[in-house]
């Protein structure tokens, strides 16, 4: 189980964001994406999910091209974008319950998993509160709690610390560490410091790996 990116290039709106990007990621490893606004961090993440076709290069999973078989590839990863995907009309618990059912958990297991995820995110008291009454930070925590509902080898996180308070950032650090301890991989784009130990760093758009 390993991800390899070879000479990847991305073009958005006739502008080349990055090219010749090459890196590998082994189980337990994490990669931090750095770079100014518009350097292609989000685009790289969307490219790795398969939403965006690469302009050139390949994404390999265990040496096999990964993006061709979308149905296999999507089960390997969890994507967290800028938006929290919280439905304002549904309660906090129901929001999570929907994702649990979508990821194929049976009703009993889903309720149990949702309970555990709500507790981990510190949102039990908001369980019945409709999404529209949650603060931006609480919505972000709810979005992060979703990561617990589906086991996936690769987490692709776009600015996961947005709107989080220091306690929640610490919780995020625990989540990331626990995922890596189980052999998971993480690619994370962020402007601010994220509690991520011994992560490699990829500077965009030059593609310098350190």
């Amino acid at each position: 189980m390993a991800l390899a990116v070879e000479q990847l290039a991305c073009i958005r709106g006739e502008r080349q964001l990055f090219s010749d990007l090459t890196f590998r990621l082994a189980p337990g490893e994490a990669l931090l994406l750095h770079g100014p606004n518009g350097s292609g961090k989000s685009s790289l993440l969307r490219l790795l999910t398969g939403f965006l076709p690469p302009a050139a290069g390949r994404v390999l999973w265990d040496g096999v091209p990964a993006l061709e078989d979308a149905e296999v590839h999507r089960d390997r990863l969890q994507y967290l974008g800028h938006q929290d995907a919280v439905k304002s009309q549904l309660g906090t618990g129901d929001n999570l319950l929907f994702w649990a059912r979508l990821y194929g958990l049976d009703p009993v297991a889903a309720v149990k998993e949702v309970d555990a995820a709500l507790e981990a995110a510190g949102l039990q008291r908001q369980r019945d509160l409709p999404g529209r009454y949650l603060s931006a930070g609480q919505k972000r925590r709810l979005a992060l709690a979703r990561l617990l509902l589906k086991p996936a080898a690769l987490w692709l996180l776009d600015e996961p610390t947005n709107a989080l308070d220091t306690a929640a950032v610490a919780w995020l650090g625990e989540l990331l560490a626990a995922h890596r301890a189980k052999g998971g991989m993480i690619i994370l784009a962020s402007h601010v410091d994220v509690p991520l130990k011994d992560a490699r760093r990829l500077d965009l758009p030059e593609g310098v790996l350190t």
Binding site: Y79, Q83, A85, Q89, L90, F98, L102, D106
Partner: protein
């Protein structure tokens, strides 16, 4: 299957809610049809003559009303990205959302149509045929409409664009839907018209999930 049902159940909850599609669709449908007796006068012969056409056109327009929001709300809050990553093909995600759309718009609209038909002095024999024709025809409207909704994702004027794209494509539904009711009103068999509506639905059911999935995938880029 659990994923498919989860999407249907969620969209039904959202659709029946206060900001949902069902209430506005039904109110628009009832209001639009009841304007005709006021506009053309209360003569029973005239109303009976135009009843089938009025109900079908109003149903067509009412079904268009909430279509532009079908995928847009999910795109705006980021849900669409995650639905595309769900453990079922995007075509089935689209089908689940379209089914929920029909259950909250087409179905209640079909069920209330017989009452409006009585208001418009429709022949009693034709009313069951109207119900059958609407039940066969409105799913096609949701399916074809969902293609338009997916194609206009990200467009600023989706609410206007969806009917412009979709209405020309659903003209066969209108023609055979009205044809079935009029045939029954004149004492002829409505069977052929209903069969054609069924054939159109079968075609739409088989093809539109692929078209919707392709259009949604474009919007995800």
């Amino acid at each position: 299957m659990s994923a498919f049902l989860a999407i249907v159940a969620r969209d039904l909850r959202l659709g029946f809610g206060a900001q949902g599609a069902m209430l506005t669709t039904l109110l628009f449908f009832v209001l639009a049809v009841s304007l005709f007796p006021l506009g053309v006068g209360p003569e029973p012969q005239i109303l009976a003559r135009i009843a089938a056409g009025v109900i079908w056109v109003a149903a067509l327009l009412a079904a268009m009303l909430s279509l532009d929001r079908l995928f847009q709300t999910d795109q705006e809050d980021g849900t669409l990205d995650l639905l595309a990553q769900a453990p079922l093909p995007l075509g089935l995600v689209a089908l689940a959302k379209t089914l929920a759309h029909w259950l909250t718009t087409g179905l209640p609209l079909s069920l209330i149509a017989p009452l409006l038909a009585i208001l418009l002095q429709m022949e009693a024999d034709a009313i069951p045929v109207l119900l059958a024709a609407l039940l066969l025809g409105t799913p096609s409207l949701s399916l074809i409409g969902a293609i338009g909704a997916a194609l206009t994702l990200g467009a600023k004027r989706g609410a206007v664009l969806v009917p412009l794209l979709t209405l020309p494509l659903v003209i066969p539904v209108l023609i055979f839907g009205v044809g079935a009711v009029e045939a029954a009103a004149y004492g002829l068999s409505a069977g052929p018209h209903l069969l054609l509506l069924g054939a159109f639905l079968a075609g739409a059911l088989a093809l539109s999930p692929f078209a919707i999935a392709a259009a949604v995938r474009l919007a995800l880029e």
